[in-house]
Amino acid sequence: MQKTLDKFAIGEQGVVKSVGGEGKIKRRLFDMGITPGAQIMLRKRAPLGDPLEITVRSYELSLRITEAQCVTLEVATDSVGGQAE
């Protein structure tokens, strides 16, 4: 199943399929290691719901929901999703 990163539940994991977005933002996402094939886990949402915190290439990265919408992932079947909002 594929969905964009902003739709992930906390703890859910996936593999990046494609990265969209306007040039500057896309380049930044790439530079930070969000490229096709990278494994990502959604760690948490900020207290006000936005931005998000993810783990990618074994470090923590924060990005906004609007930026997370640019990232499409294949959801890993064994991930422990739905830990609740």
Partner: protein, 781 residues
């Protein structure tokens, strides 16, 4: 002298390495035009001394951020003899992404594998020899913090610097290899240096390269037409980035063997983060930390011990109660020390440091020098200039060093520990409403302490327009030096107009809130007009938490101190002398005693501009002596501390001048340091109204800040036009705020006029931005 450049990701230990290598020889300098620090220092333990250049921390060599362009241009144009690429071993893949780009340049490279101790602590292993083989450049394990492996690193770097190195790329296995090679040969044919690097950037479609190599561009474009990747289509920037990471995952990442097979481990840092950015507790914890910082810096009632004692109906005795201070004089030298720590309540550490510095050190020293000058037999004007001008001016400025450093220390701790990034994470949502990112919160809140470090802190903001907007509103967060103005005027209002009953603090607090409101409105306005732009992205690394390093903190503080002292002895010293001369000489250049201030050059000038302040309530309507408020405000442009000292001088002068309204005013009352009585004298002499007084403090709070802050704004903004715009912005804002406060305070119905004007302007901006009206170029059919 050979030059080695340090390059690496932000937060990879670059600064620590720099400090370890260069020791105390480090000094901070600014790059021309760009507000990012480049530091250089000297390493002395090689065969010959080597200059070490610390480049800004970067993730990539893209053309999008100023730091990346600086680092890239330095390596390309200044041609260092070797690049030392620091790689954070705990975060190998992302760090090596930058490495793959640096390796494409024709420059000797050595990899410093830092934070190996942290990797080993987790039980993981990195095969450095294997990595060296695969990268094709030396790899040295170091610990910048414990200063391990540094000599080895520098020996290797020195060795490498004596060799030539051609760039190499990891993109040689990708479908792009052919194109890159063709472009490289073409560029090499044109005698372009670093042909491989430029070729790859040109293929990426990099803005800077496209501009630089117009002749070669058609060749690339021609090829691109026939090329279509199945995943990326014709997006070459994406292809290149993906190619790099793919190669890293396949060839470099395997040198790391993890103890745990778990893909996403939970570390101690993660557990700390779970609490600190918790959905419910995150914001309260943040507020408590913020409160503690200000409490520890400014509170004269540490941990509210005094208040608790009062609640228990057992208040702590003051030093006077104890008989240790008699008639305002401490009975011995020991009591003076005691008074820096305790008087009816225990002071906070910040206040204690402040008291020791001011009462026991600077005060003593300047008092002693003052005494020497007084008895030196010099001309009276020279004594006045040195004692009342220079020494008092310098003293006023230096007295602010302790609170600035204390605040700076706390904020450095937050920054070093990694919590600062989380504050931005927590608050981003709120700040986005105003068109800023969460990162701009910190400089703003630092503004409550002092605008100077706050403005310097805006360097952490990635977006240029966001930085400008933040620098401009920082002075509205009322700084420590503005507080005495607020309390003096508020106190005078209560005593003079409310017969002493009423709460002066309420006026003070509302002024703080007014400042915040003005800041929010200004940011919204700027982001909708002159500083239009998209909300900057917030794709930011959240570094692992770690305990702050004492050595680093001290280095930060020392840098800060040097910077501040330099400023005090240059620009502020000069301005103090000018002000003093202008208030103590008449137009015919005769020396005037304090009482004759009314005839001074500056008084003349102030009388001249006085009518300008009529809409603000302290202009022409105040009559002959009305210029005193103008002078106080103008003196405040040098340093806000000047306002209070000007109050004191003017109060004394007014009484000396025998004004009928002041007959029977006891000059002894002026002895109180808070300036309240001086303000009352000024009120009596000028018959200024309450709205006029409030407008006066509102004006002082929002107008051009002190010289130090203006100088900092100038160096931080870099751009001259933007700096001039900022000065105009401050003047216009304070004038408008003053006028609104005064007119509405005097005639309540004018609020309708202001509301209509504000609504009109808002509509105009909204419609203009929506393209419904076009002011500059009216469309005609």
């Amino acid at each position: 002298m050979k030059r080695f450049a340090l390059a690496g990701n932000p937060n990879c230990g670059k600064t620590t390495l720099f400090n370890s290598l260069t020791g105390s020889t480090a000094h901070v300098g600014n790059w021309p035009g760009v507000t990012v620090d480049k530091r250089d220092g000297v390493y002395k333990k090689c065969a010959e001394p080597v200059a070490i250049i610390d480049l800004p921390g970067i993730y990539s060599l893209s053309p999008y951020t100023p730091e990346e362009v600086i680092a890239r241009n330095y390596i390309l144009d200044e041609k260092p003899d070797c690049v030392i690429n620091i790689v954070d071993a705990t975060n190998l893949e992302r760090n090596l992404y930058l490495t793959t780009q640096i390796l494409e340049m024709d420059v000797p490279v050595v990899i410093a594998l830092n934070m190996m101790d942290a990797v080993e602590r987790q039980g993981d292993k990195i095969d450095a020899n294997e990595l060296e083989k695969r990268l094709g450049v030396p790899v040295v394990k170091i610990s910048a913090l414990k200063e391990q492996g540094l000599d080895n690193l520098m020996d290797k770097a020195f060795n490498e610097s004596q060799k030539e190195r051609r760039g190499s790329t990891v993109l040689k296995d990708t479908p792009l290899a052919h194109l890159i090679n063709d472009v490289r040969i073409a560029l090499a044919g044109q005698n372009v240096g670093n042909p491989l690097f430029h070729a790859i950037k040109l293929v990426e479609g990099d803005e800077i390269e496209v501009e630089m190599h117009k002749e070669t561009l058609p060749m690339v474009e021609e090829f691109k037409k026939t090329f279509a990747d199945e995943t990326f289509g014709n997006d070459f920037e994406a292809l290149v980035a993906d190619g790099r990471y793919k190669y890293i995952s396949k060839h470099f990442a395997p040198v790391l063997t993890r103890k745990s097979k778990e893909k996403f481990q939970t570390t101690r840092s993660d557990r700390a983060d779970k609490v600190l950015t918790n959905r419910w507790a995150g914001i309260p914890i943040f507020l408590v930390i913020l409160f503690l910082i200000f409490h520890l810096t400014f509170s004269e009632n540490f941990l509210f011990i005094g208040t608790f004692a009062e609640w228990a109906h057992n208040p702590l005795p003051t030093l006077e109660d104890l008989g240790l201070i008699v008639n305002g004089e401490p009975i011995n030298y020991g009591v003076r020390w005691l008074a820096t720590i305790y008087d009816g309540a225990i002071y906070s550490p910040g206040v204690i440091v402040n008291n020791i510095w001011n009462d026991m050190m600077v005060g003593e020293l300047f008092g002693w020098i003052g005494g020497l000058i007084e008895n030196s037999g010099m001309q009276p004007w020279a004594i006045g200039l040195i004692n009342n001008g220079i020494i008092e001016g310098l003293g006023a400025v230096l007295s602010f060093l302790p609170p600035i450093l204390t605040l700076f220390l706390f904020f450095s701790i937050l920054e070093d520990s990694g919590y600062m990034a989380r504050i931005a994470f927590i608050l981003d949502r709120m700040f986005r409403r105003f068109g800023l990112s969460g990162r701009s919160f910190l400089p703003m809140i630092m503004g409550f302490g002092c605008s100077v470090p706050a403005m310097i802190n805006t360097r952490t903001l990635a977006d240029d327009k966001e930085r400008t907007a933040t620098v401009r509103v920082i002075p509205f967060f009322s700084c420590g030096a503005k507080l005495p103005i607020l309390t003096a005027v508020a106190g005078a209002i209560i005593l003079r107009f409310a017969g002493g009953s009423g709460n002066a603090d309420l006026i003070t607090y509302s002024m703080y809130i007014l400042g915040i409101v003005v800041a929010i409105v200004s940011v919204l306005l700027m982001r909708a007009t002159t500083l239009k732009g998209e909300t900057p992205p917030f794709i930011m690394e959240l570094p692992a938490y770690h305990a702050p390093q004492f050595k680093n903190l001290m280095a930060h503080l020392w840098d800060k101190t040097k910077h501040f002292i330099k400023k005090a002895f240059t620009i502020i010293l000069a301005s103090t002398i000018v002000i003093w001369v202008l208030t103590h000489f008449g137009f015919d250049w005769t020396f005037l005693e304090d009482e004759a201030i009314n005839d001074s050059i500056l008084a003349g000038l102030c009388k001249f501009v006085q009518p300008l302040f009529t809409p603000l309530g302290f202009g022409s309507q105040l009559g002959t002596y009305g210029w005193v408020f103008v002078l106080a405000a103008v003196a405040g442009l040098i340093a806000k501390e000047n306002v209070i000292s000007t109050f004191a001088t003017l109060g004394a002068c007014l009484i000396a001048a025998n004004i009928p309204a002041l007959s029977g005013f006891d000059p002894a009352l002026l002895e109180d340091e808070s300036g309240i009585q001086a303000v009352i004298a000024m009120i009596a002499a000028t018959e200024i109204t309450v709205p006029g007084l409030i407008s006066f403090i509102a004006f002082n709070m929002t107008t051009i800040p002190c010289f130090a802050a203006v100088g900092t704004a100038k160096s931080e903004l870099g751009n001259k036009k933007r700096f001039n715009g900022t000065l105009v912005f401050w003047l216009v804002t304070s004038y408008l705020v003053g006028a609104i406060v005064y007119t509405i305070g005097s005639w309540w119905w004018t609020s309708f006029i202001w509301a209509a004007v504000i609504a009109g302007v808002t509509c105009l901006i909204v419609f203009y931005n929506k393209g419904k009206i076009n002011i500059k170029f009216p469309k005609r059919k």
